[in-house]
C-alpha cells in the first residue's frame, strides 16, 4: 500500500481511494454537500452501526446552518470540538491509514479543502458474544471467556482491574491484515524491559496476515528447540488478570478468543483458578493429582513396556502372571500394541475435535466401546494395554495446556522403553530434563521455582497456601520496579 498523504482536493482524494480499493463493493462512499461545502463519508459495509452513523454524524451535519459551514475549517472544527459524535476521534493524514480505519469499523469524514480526514469510531460489526470458556473450564470462577474482538477482550480486563496502571498498548501487526494487537500489562508490576522486549519482538513480525494469536507465539518463545512452550494461552479474562498482576504480559490479538501470556513457567501448567477458590488442603491434593497425572501421561506406557520387555522381575508376581497370560496370546509385541492403540486413540481424538459436535459423540462411543472392545475380543490388543492407554489419555486431559508435549513424549518413551528398556527411559528423561531446565522465558527460567529453587514461591507450587499468606506476595511483586530482565539475554 502506498504511503501517500491526503490532498486538499476531495475529488482527487476520492479518485485515489476508489482506485486503491479497485471499487471494492464493500467500501461505501457517500458524498454530501452542506451549503456548498463538499464532504464525503467513507465506511466499510456492515462494519459500522448505520443508525449511530445517521444519528451522530449525518443528522448533526445536515442540521448545520449556512453560517456554520462557510469554510471547510468550520465543519472540521465542528466535528472536532463542538460535536459529541464519537468518543473515538482521530485525525488521519495518510491514505493508507484511511483504509486501516474504515476496515476497523470507523467512519471516515473527508472535507474538500482540508488535507486530512477525521476517523470516528462507530463500530457496529457483528461478532460472537461473550460466552462460556470451552477449554479453560472451571467450577468456581467467572464463566466469561474472551471473544474474537480484541477491544471487547480489553474491556473485560478493564472491568476486572480498575486501575490506571493497567496498560493496553495497541500495535498493528501483519502487512496485509493490519491486525490489532493489545499488549496488556500493569505498569507498576511488569518489568519495563520485559514489556519493551515483547513490543520489539512483535514489531519485528513481518507476516502478511495474522489470523490467530498462535501466529505470534514463535516470535515470543525462547529461541531454543523444545517441545514445551514458554508462551501460554488462556481464554479466561480472570486468569489473564491474575497473570498480569504478577508482572506478566498478556497479548490480545484481534480475531482470537485466546490471550497469549508470557513469561510462562512450567509449574503454571498445573495451576488453575479453581485451585484458588477451594480450601488449601484440597487445592494441594488436586495439585499432587495433576503432577501425578503428568507423569502417568508421559511415562506410564513406556515404563510398562520397559518392565514387561526388560525387567519383569520388578512387577509383583501375581500381576506378572496375569500380564504374561494376556500377552502370550497376542500377535504383536507390547511396544507395537502400544503404538497401534496410541495412534488409534489420537485418530479418534482428532476426529472428535474436527467433527460436528453431534457426530463427535458418536465417534467417541464407537471408539471407546466398539473399537476397544472389539480389539480385545479379536485378540489384537491386550486388555492391560487398553487400560494403560485409557489411563494415560485421561491423565493427559488433566493438564490440557501441555497435551501436545505429553502426547509426543509418550510416544517417544514408548519407543525408548520398547527398544532399550529402563535405560532408554532414563536417558530420555535426562534429555527432557536438560531441555526443560535450559529453557528461559524472557530471562526467567522455565523450570523455576523448582530449579532454580525458590522457597518463598513454594507456597504456590505443590502446596497451595491460604490466601492470608498468598496476599503478602502482592507487595513483593511491587518490588519488581526497575526489574532485571536483560533484553540482550532474552533468548538465552
Amino acid at each position: 500500500m502506498q504511503q501517500e498523504k491526503l490532498g486538499t482536493s476531495l475529488r482527487d482524494n476520492l479518485v485515489t481511494i476508489r482506485s486503491m480499493c479497485g471499487n471494492s463493493a464493500d467500501v461505501m462512499i457517500r458524498e454530501l454537500e452542506l451549503h456548498g461545502q463538499k464532504i464525503a463519508l467513507i465506511s466499510c459495509s456492515a462494519m459500522i452501526n448505520d443508525l449511530n452513523a445517521y444519528q451522530l454524524v449525518v443528522s448533526p451535519l445536515t442540521r448545520l446552518s449556512e453560517e456554520e459551514t462557510r469554510t471547510p475549517e468550520q465543519i472540521f472544527d465542528f466535528i472536532h470540538t463542538q460535536s459529541m459524535l464519537s468518543m473515538e476521534l482521530t485525525d488521519v493524514f495518510e491514505l493508507e491509514l484511511v483504509f486501516v480505519y474504515i476496515m476497523s469499523g470507523f467512519l471516515v469524514v473527508l472535507i474538500d479543502g482540508i488535507p486530512k480526514a477525521v476517523a470516528l469510531g462507530l463500530q457496529g460489526f457483528k461478532y460472537r458474544s461473550v460466552s462460556e470458556p470451552l477449554s479453560d473450564v472451571n467450577q468456581h470462577g467467572s464463566q466469561e471467556a474472551f471473544t474474537e474482538v480484541a477491544v471487547v477482550n480489553g474491556s473485560m480486563l478493564r472491568r476486572r482491574m480498575k486501575t490506571p496502571s493497567l496498560r493496553l498498548e495497541q500495535l498493528r501487526i501483519g502487512k496485509k491484515s493490519n491486525t490489532i494487537v493489545f499488549v496488556a500489562y500493569l505498569s507498576d508490576r511488569a518489568d519495563p524491559r520485559l514489556v519493551r522486549d515483547i513490543k520489539r519482538r512483535l514489531s519485528e513480525v513481518e507476516n502478511d496476515v495474522i489470523l490467530a494469536a498462535a501466529y505470534l507465539r514463535p516470535f515470543l518463545e525462547s529461541g531454543k528447540k523444545t517441545i514445551f512452550s514458554t508462551v501460554s494461552t488462556t481464554e479466561r479474562p480472570d486468569t489473564l488478570c491474575a497473570k498480569i498482576s504478577e508482572g506478566r504480559v498478556g497479548i490480545l490479538v484481534d480475531g482470537t478468543p485466546f490471550a497469549l501470556v508470557t513469561p510462562t513457567l512450567f509449574i503454571e501448567n498445573f495451576q488453575n483458578l479453581d485451585d484458588y477458590c477451594t480450601k488449601p488442603y484440597f487445592a494441594t491434593f488436586i495439585r499432587i493429582v495433576k503432577y501425578l497425572a503428568f507423569f502417568i501421561a508421559v511415562f506410564l506406557p513406556g515404563v510398562y513396556i520397559a518392565f514387561i520387555n526388560f525387567t519383569p522381575e520388578i512387577i509383583p508376581s501375581s500381576l506378572l502372571y496375569n500380564i504374561t497370560a494376556n500377552q502370550s496370546i497376542m500377535p504383536f509385541s507390547v511396544m507395537i500394541e502400544a503404538i497401534i492403540i496410541n495412534f488409534i486413540y489420537e485418530i479418534m481424538r482428532e476426529a472428535g475435535i474436527r467433527m460436528p459436535q453431534s457426530v463427535g459423540h458418536a465417534v467417541s462411543i464407537v471408539g471407546s466401546l466398539v473399537v476397544g472392545q472389539a480389539a480385545v475380543s479379536a485378540g489384537l490388543i491386550s486388555a492391560p494395554m487398553i487400560m494403560m492407554v485409557a489411563l494415560t489419555a485421561i491423565s493427559s486431559y488433566v493438564i490440557p495446556s501441555i497435551y501436545e508435549a505429553c502426547s509426543f513424549l509418550r510416544l517417544l518413551f514408548i519407543l525408548l522403553g520398547g527398544f532399550f528398556g529402563l535405560l532408554g527411559i532414563a536417558v530420555g528423561s535426562i534429555f527432557v530434563l536438560v531441555n526443560i531446565t535450559s529453557l528461559n522465558s524472557f530471562g526467567i527460567p522455565y523450570l523455576a521455582t523448582i530449579s532454580p529453587f525458590s522457597l518463598k514461591a513454594m507456597r504456590d507450587v505443590i502446596y497451595r497456601a491460604n490466601w492470608t499468606k498468598l496476599q503478602k506476595r502482592a507487595a513483593k511483586v511491587q518490588n519488581l520496579d526497575g526489574a532485571h530482565v536483560n533484553e540482550r539475554d532474552a533468548d538465552e
Binding site: L423, A426, S454, K456, K476, N479
Partner: protein, 372 residues
C-alpha cells in the same frame, strides 16, 4: 495465580547459587558412596570405616583451608589467571595438570558407572554404557553450568526422596547387632576408612574453577563446600550403617553393598526396587561426568588463545570418548585410572599443596614488591 516473579528468579547467565553448588557436590559424593565396593578396596570393618569417615571429614576441611585462602585473596578471579599471576609460566603447566585430572575423573566416573551397570543389568556391554553415559554427559555439558546445576538440583530432590523412602522401608530389615565391634586391629580399620573416604573427595577439586561462577563468590563457595563435606559425611555414614545393619557380614563379601541392600528390601510389594534406583544413579553419574567435563573445557578455553576457543569442547569430547573407549576395552586401564584418580596423595597435592604453594609464592612476591 502462578508464582510471582521475584528478583531471585532473574537469571544472570554466569552465576549459580551456593545451594546448587552444594547439590552437585553432594550428588557426586553420594554416587561414590553408593557405588562403594569393599571387594575392590579390600574387606573392611564398617564400624572402623564409619569412625574413619568422621575423622576424614575433619581432615578434608583442614585440607581445604589453603584453597579457601587462595580464593579469598583472589575473589572472583578465574583460576588460570590466579595460577599465571602467582607462578608465572609454570601456572600454565599447573592448569594443564588440573585439566588432565578433571578429564581423568570424568572418564573414571563414566567407567565406574558403566562397569556397575554392565555387571548388574546385564542388558548391554560396558562399552555401550560408556558410550551412552559419555554421550549424554557431553550433551548436558554443552548446555553449560546453569543447566548442569539445575538438573543436579532436580536429581538431588529425587535422590533425597528415594533415600527417605528406602530408609523407611528398610527399617524393619536393620539389625544393630550386625555391626561388628572394633577389633584389636582397630586403628588400621579406622585409618583404612579414613584414607578411603578422603581419597574419594574429587568434587572439592572443582572449587577453584567454579568459585567465580558462584553468587557471593568466596563466601558462597566456602559455605557450599563446608556444607557438602558435612552432609556427604553424614550421608556416607548412613549408607555404611544402613548396609552394615541390613547385610551384616555379607556386606564385606558383595561387590556393591548398598545396591545389595536395596535388592533385599521389598518396597510396597514391589520387588527389585534396586533396578529403578540404578537408573537414578546413572543420571547422577551423567551430571557428575558433565560437571567435570565442563570444568575441564572451561580451563581449556581459558588457556586457549582467543579465537580458538570454540573447538576446545569438541577436542576434549573426542579425547574423552576415545579414552573411555580404550579403557572400556581393557579393565587394566580402568584399575590404573581409578588408582590415580582416587589416590589420596594426588588429591592432597592438587587440593592442598598447590594452593599452599601459590599462596606462598604470592606472599613472597608481595613482600618483594613491598621491599622495592
Amino acid at each position: 495465580m502462578g508464582p510471582m516473579l521475584t528478583k531471585g528468579m532473574r537469571m544472570n547467565r554466569i552465576t549459580i547459587a551456593p545451594y546448587q553448588l552444594f547439590c552437585v557436590f553432594f550428588l557426586g559424593r553420594a554416587l561414590t558412596s553408593m557405588l562403594y565396593s569393599p571387594t575392590m578396596v579390600g574387606a573392611v570393618n564398617p564400624t572402623g570405616s564409619i569412625i574413619g569417615m568422621l575423622i576424614g571429614a575433619c581432615v578434608q576441611l583442614a585440607l581445604l583451608i589453603p584453597m579457601f585462602l587462595l580464593l579469598k585473596n583472589n575473589d572472583g578471579e578465574e583460576f588460570h589467571n590466579i595460577l599465571l599471576k602467582s607462578t608465572g609460566k609454570s601456572g600454565f603447566v599447573i592448569a594443564v595438570l588440573y585439566l588432565i585430572y578433571y578429564m581423568m575423573v570424568a572418564v573414571a566416573v563414566a567407567c565406574e558407572m558403566s562397569y556397575f551397570m554392565a555387571n548388574f543389568t546385564r542388558d548391554y556391554d560396558m562399552i555401550f554404557y560408556l558410550l551412552v553415559i559419555s554421550g549424554v554427559a557431553l550433551y548436558v555439558a554443552k548446555y553449560g553450568l546453569q543447566t548442569i546445576v539445575r538438573v543436579g538440583f532436580v536429581l538431588f530432590i529425587i535422590l533425597v526422596l528415594s533415600i527417605v523412602v528406602i530408609g523407611l522401608a528398610g527399617v524393619s530389615h536393620m539389625n544393630i547387632y550386625n555391626l561388628k565391634p572394633l577389633t584389636d586391629n582397630c586403628w588400621n580399620e579406622i585409618f583404612d576408612g579414613f584414607f578411603r573416604y578422603s581419597s574419594a573427595n574429587m568434587e572439592m577439586m572443582l572449587l577453584p574453577v567454579l568459585a567465580p561462577f558462584v553468587k557471593t563468590c568466596v563466601r558462597g563457595t566456602r559455605k557450599a563446600a563446608i556444607l557438602a563435606v558435612g552432609v556427604t559425611t553424614l550421608f556416607s555414614t548412613y549408607i555404611m550403617f544402613f548396609s552394615a545393619t541390613v547385610l551384616g557380614q555379607y556386606m564385606e563379601k558383595v561387590a556393591y553393598p548398598y545396591f545389595m541392600t536395596l535388592a533385599s528390601i521389598n518396597l510396597f510389594g514391589m520387588r527389585r526396587m534396586d533396578v529403578l534406583q540404578i537408573y537414578l544413579w546413572l543420571a547422577i553419574a551423567v551430571v557428575k561426568v558433565a560437571l567435570f567435563f565442563f570444568v575441564a573445557v572451561h580451563i581449556g578455553k581459558s588457556m586457549a588463545p582467543s579465537g580458538r576457543r570454540k573447538p576446545v569442547f569438541w577436542i576434549l569430547a573426542v579425547v574423552m570418548l576415545g579414552t573411555a573407549l580404550a579403557i572400556g576395552c581393557s579393565l587394566h586401564y580402568f584399575s590404573a585410572l581409578s588408582l590415580i584418580v582416587r589416590n589420596v596423595w594426588v588429591l592432597g597435592f592438587l587440593i592442598a599443596f598447590i594452593p599452599a604453594v601459590i599462596l606462598i609464592c604470592g606472599a613472597v612476591k608481595r613482600r618483594k614488591k613491598d621491599a622495592q
